[in-house]
Each structure stands twice: as C-alpha cells, then as structure tokens.
C-alpha cells in the first residue's frame, strides 16, 4: 500500500505540511518495498483549484492513504469517490521520518 504525506521540504527531517492542496512536496512512501519518492507540487502558487489538481497527481501514483494536516471541502468528496483514506494529523512539528516510522511499526 502506498501512502502520500504532505511535506514542507524534500528530506526526511522536514516537517509535515498542514495544507494538502498547496503543500511544497508530496512524499510517496511504499510500505511494502519501503521505497520513497519526493514530488514537488506544481500547484503550490495556484490561485484556485489546487486541491483537485493535487488529488490528480497523488491518485495517478495509486495511493491508498494520504496524511496531511487539513483537507478542503472540494477534496473530501473527491477522495471518498476514489476510495482514498484521509488521515488528518494536527501536529505541525512531526517530521516526515517520524511519520514513516509510525507507519512501519
């Protein structure tokens, strides 16, 4: 199962981004092969429609779960229909490495 995590930077020490649509990077982590991929978000500066465009990027990688701080109203129904699980983590101080460790245990 692949998991997408929103990140503020492109290394393991960077923090979890509290926004989904306009986060800096997406981390795609594979829980089986333990491989990961950092994707810069092209919608970071978008005026509107950043959420659905970001969902498209993440869904094209066959992700099953998304970890982020918040999800917008447009995204919720979209992710429900795509059967992607949303995980809301309201802890901005958590780093990407810590979250990946939580997923592995």
């Amino acid at each position: 199962m692949k998991v997408a995590i929103t990140s503020t930077g492109n290394d393991l020490n960077s923090k979890l981004d509290q926004r989904f649509g306009r986060c800096s990077y997406f981390v795609i982590y594979d829980t089986e092969t333990r491989g990961m991929e950092f994707i810069p978000n092209p919608n970071k500066e978008a005026q509107e429609g950043a959420g659905p465009a970001s969902v498209q990027i993440v869904a094209s990688r066959n992700v099953g779960k998304i970890v982020s701080g918040e999800f917008g109203i447009k995204i919720k129904s979209l992710l429900d229909s795509l059967k992607i699980q949303m995980i809301v983590l309201k802890e901005p101080e958590k780093s990407i490495g810590e979250i990946i460790n939580m997923l592995n245990t």
Partner: protein, 207 residues
Amino acid sequence: MFIIFVLNYCSYFMSPRPLRLRKISNPPIISGFKPYGKKPEKETNEVIFLMYEEYESLRLCDYEMLNHHQASVIMDVSRPTLTRIYAKARQKIAEAFVMGKQIIIEGGKIYFDSEWFSCKKCGCFFNNPEKQYNITECPLCRSNNFTNCEEVTNGADESVFRCSDMCICPECGHEQPHNFGKPCSSEICPGCGHQMIRKGTPKSKKK
C-alpha cells in the same frame, strides 16, 4: 399596477438563491433499476434520473422510519426542503412504476459524509472510505485505541429526539420543549418576543 410591473421585472433578472448542499450519509449500493417483462414493440429507452438526495430522503423516511424533521437534520437541510425532495422522489418512482421506465440513481447537489474516527494514541483523525470493511486499527500507528467521532455526535442528537424536539429563539437563544402539533413559528419567545423556530434546522444554527 406599477408594483406588479416591478415585481415581474425583478423576478426576471434576479437569480434564485443557490441550493443548499445535501448531506448523504449512505450512498446507494446499486446504480439503478430496470423493468422486466415489458413488450418489446416499444423500443423506447426512457429513463428516470433519481437524484442521490432523493434516494437518501427515501432511505431515511421509509427505510429508517424517521420523521421529516429528523431526516432533515441528518441531511442538513430545512424541514420543508426535505419534504419537497421526498415528494419528488415518490413522484419519480411512481412514474417509473406506472410507465415501466428505467430508474438511474445519479446526480443531485450533494456531498458525501464518511465516518470519521480519532486515534487516542497518536491523536490523528481518519475516515473509512470502504464502507463494507470495518476498521480494526489506526492506519498510522496501528493501535486499536480509537473512537468513532460520529457516535458521540449521534448520541447527542438522539437524546434531543428522545426528550422530544426543542423550540429555539433565533434572537436570544432561549429554548423550550416543543408542543406537539403546534408550529414553532406560532410560539413567542418569553424573553424578547421574537418568533421561535425548531432547534437543529439550518436556520437555528446561524446564531
């Protein structure tokens, strides 16, 4: 004469208020119905589109046996709106039965509401996108110490229903038990003399 002219003029140019989004708790497991045993001479593929919101109102009113007010609170619309949706649903289904038309369930101004859970160990919130499987562990830290957020709010709502409905004053927030059979709008708030409305309807949540 002049007033009628102005009213007509306004109704021609002013757009109506946009529809309120209807909340769908349980989407249908099928996407429609087909009639059978129809004489094939009339090859008409006439279909009736039953909106999701109409399906949901039927499910709440006829399957779950709730009254219109309880159903309207669940769908997050006003009671008259729910009754209109429900009446339309019955009319469409009756038409499909009588005319032997196909029913397709799709469309409507709606949003889905999935169940939310909260984990006590890592403090995260998560939903369950696949309704047919029950969640057994937190997807993040794999502990089984989590609670269903919906149960808490549902429990509060049920207690409101059990001790009968309440009338609330939209101005000062005064509440009193609802008199069965008497419209809330005919009640007068003893504090400020304003008309009362039913508690739990979208209007009463604004204040």
